[in-house]
Symmetry: C2
């Protein structure tokens, strides 16, 4: 900031004397106007000009400092981004050794640039994406090179004039077929990159082969340098601080559930004005968390596609049921739609007067659903069977039944409440019941996942019993403060961070 | 199918005689078992084996025919896909002339392959995407080539040993910086491809320059061949049956609205059991149309990013306010969330008994909202000011007010209805009121768009008047059959098609 100001200062004509305030902003320069006796209009113009000059400078300053702070935040939010950039730099420097080392250059020559190009195009943030692209590039090159060599030989047979015509026809034909194939949904989702590389290699080798007599050597050089580049990427991506798409997906699904849980717990407290558990009434930021869940479909699908390529790592074996995560994700999103509708009714100005009994029961439903989702998120995150979630869901269901009997009791619609006042209450009740149903569905799919991959069974010390119907007292479970199994509660802020990162990367 | 069966037939031992049913499926072969007297267990095994063989064959057959019909459907749904494939083939064949024509080959040599690679990587379905990628590739190559030549000269100064070290350091540094830059949201959204090409060109030219003394020539050849490839793509993409991303976005937004309108009109008829206007009660397919709207965010943002690159075309000038479309899209999606919640209540088994007056008013609200959205979709599609939408929104608002007074009237909660029955009704009422609000917001943003780009003002011949509050008779507007302005109604099925296409392509 200071540098830029002194630079501006140097640009000004020498007769102009400016005072800089302690904050570095120029003050209106009265001294100058008095000494030069410039008429008012001109004076104003000059002032504007100078202010403009300073304004521009400040603008640039502000933008640069905003940019710098954004860049810092990018790195601070997820240091793996910095590590990834260093990994790409390392891989690129390694493959450029093919040029710098004489023995290597002797064997590959200018074809070494394919290794450089492969590194730039194949190296992705997650190991799965890098593996997928690398393997696809290798296979597509192999297949296309073989076909191109065949096409070249075929074209060779047709004489000097026929050769370029036939080659051109082959190039045209394969480009049309594979470009059209890229519209096919399965190919588009999984093998899009492979199709592009096929078209590229086939065209390149069959066309180059027309000029280069050693077409087999050309194909071999392209294939071997691509294999060198691809394997460099894959090795560095997997061995040096790997980022696993599977783990990202796993964390994203858990954190999405956690966001819905935060909303429901906040809704239980804020809407029904019960600031218990130390939640401040003004802290309503958690009510926006669910919006990112609404649009997470693409991200989840991409991560699942990448995860399919990854070998076993950490708690995930090869062929981990990633599809099940998509199912859980879809159900979480359906719940988020209901929550978005609920959110539309969170208007403190038009808050209806709700009979206290209904308020309590609604709050309980919301809180219990929130607790259940928190348990489920935690269960996924730690890969431990979600015993306690069942209890919370039963609690919320019994609260819903309580609500039914409360609404049925004739005393409710007294003099204080007419039907019109009941409408918003009924809506919230109804949406909450929907949310309970959605939560149950989510729990079901999490249980399916738990049995598919054998989640660890850590029984809570206080064994939960099924509550009787209509029971109003919520049952104790692992997230209550005095329960011994509280030890598995993990740091939630990190959950938040991971999602926002993986989102921005999708 | 017949071919495959005869092939299977040939594979069987000669003693086996099979009967093919008229559908080509093998029948259980009783003749065979009688003549060979095979014991039952073996017989069963053989049967299974043969069935397995036929089963496999049929399986392959079924898959192939399914694939073929899918491919046909792909082309039939959107013939532009076939045209695009042909365009890519044409462009690739054109640039491969750089190899086949001696004079062209004399000037470019093997560098001609960059033109081939550029075509494969740059040619996209929409003109905007092709233009964006082409221009970015050109600019990034120019900038990176200039910097790489500079870096090469700098490294040259540092002697024989220092040169590769300094070059390697430069390559490492730019790879790290630009890979990290790709995480920056603005760069990621708009200049991701440019960054990749920058890294690629810089590495390629600075590293190749170490071996090739004519680094300037190398940079010039790469740049010129990339320009040839890029401009071929851009020219073909724009001149031969162009597909405009802007038009796609325009149609997508209109068709998304149309889908919501279909839902609301269907909901008005089906849920409230009023099969008027010839809508069959069983035809409930339109109730699923809105699900694709829920996840259209990514698609819309991509199309808007591509559309920014496009020159003026048809009814759209350069710098058409594409951002406004995103705003309308976001509001449409918000409405879709409410509709998804409404959809959860469309359970014919648990349909509550609703007093007929409420039912009628709810139905009217839903129908009027649907009509308003249809008008708005039509207005966008035809770029004509949406006069009639206002009328329908006012109608739905007055229906909502009617509903209020209906609910307030004490006679409603008679002996036939208790509070519990009221809950689902109240929820639907409340969600419909939300939908009315959302529709109003959508209308507002469409009006903003209409004033930004000067939509044509085709006043309806029957000038709509503002209805009085509480008026129950809906006002006439342009979508009523007898109105003269019915002429602007366009074919709706095409709307549906366009969206599904552009979605699958996103």
């Amino acid at each position: 900031m200071v540098m830029c100001h002194s630079w501006c200062y140097l640009l000004l004509p020498p007769t102009f004397a400016y005072k800089l305030s302690p904050q570095g902003r120029p003050k209106a320069c009265h001294v100058l106007h008095l000494s030069l006796n410039i008429p008012d209009a001109m004076d104003f113009d000059h002032q504007k000009q100078e202010q403009g000059r300073f304004g521009f400078c400040e603008n640039v300053n502000a933008r640069v400092s905003e940019f710098v702070s954004n860049v810092r935040k990018l790195g601070r939010d997820d240091p793996r981004r910095v590590v990834h950039s260093l990994k790409v730099g390392l891989a690129l420097t390694l493959v450029s050794l093919l040029y710098y080392c004489q023995p290597l250059y002797d064997s590959f020559g200018v074809s070494a640039m394919w290794a450089v190009i492969t590194v730039v195009l194949v190296f992705e943030f997650s190991a799965g994406a890098t593996l997928g692209k690398g393997v696809m590039r290798g296979l597509a090159t192999l297949l296309a090179a073989a076909l191109a060599v065949g096409a070249h030989h075929l074209a060779n047979l047709s004489g000097h004039i026929g050769e370029p015509i036939l080659l051109g026809f082959f190039v045209f034909l394969q480009a049309v077929v594979f470009t059209f194939a890229r519209f096919y949904p399965t190919i588009k989702a999984r093998y899009d990159y492979g199709s592009v590389i096929f078209i590229l290699t086939f065209s390149f080798i069959s066309v180059s082969g027309y000029r280069d007599d050693e077409i087999l050597k050309l194909a071999y050089l392209r294939l071997s340098t691509i294999l060198i580049g691809g394997s460099t990427c894959i090795v560095i991506s997997i061995l040096v601080f790997p980022v696993w798409a599977g783990e990202e997906l796993h964390n994203l699904i858990a954190s999405n559930m956690d966001k819905l849980a935060c909303f429901l717990q906040g809704f239980g407290h804020v809407y029904f004005e019960m600031a218990e558990d130390g939640v401040s009434k003004r802290d309503k930021s958690f009510l926006q968390g669910h919006t990112s869940v609404l649009n997470s479909k693409n991200n989840e699908e991409n991560l699942a596609n990448f995860a399919r390529w990854e070998p076993g790592h950490g708690r995930f074996r090869f062929r981990h049921p990633w599809k099940q995560y998509l199912k859980i994700g879809a159900r979480t999103r359906r719940c988020a739609y209901r929550i978005e509708s609920l959110n539309g009714h969170l208007n403190p100005q038009a808050k209806p007067e709700i009979p206290s009994k209904i308020r309590e029961t609604c709050s309980e439903m919301s809180l219990e659903c929130g607790r259940a989702l928190k348990e489920l998120a935690l269960a996924i995150k730690t890969m431990v069977k979600p015993f306690a979630a069942h209890v919370h869901i039963e609690n919320s269901k019994s609260a819903a039944e309580n609500l039914n009997s409360l609404l049925q009791s004739s005393g409710l619609l007294g003099d204080n409440m007419d039907v019109l006042q009941l409408v918003p209450v009924a809506t919230i009740v109804s949406l909450l019941i929907d949310v309970v149903k959605c939560t149950e569905e989510i729990a079901e799919s999490v249980h399916e996942l738990a049995s598919m991959v054998n989640f660890e069974a850590v029984e809570p010390t206080v064994s939960p019993e099924k509550p009787e119907t209509g029971q109003s007292e919520p049952m104790k479970s692992s997230d209550d403060v005095n329960s011994p199994s509280i030890i598995i509660v993990i740091d939630e802020p990190s959950l938040e961070n991971e999602t926002s990162d993986s989102k921005s990367r999708a």
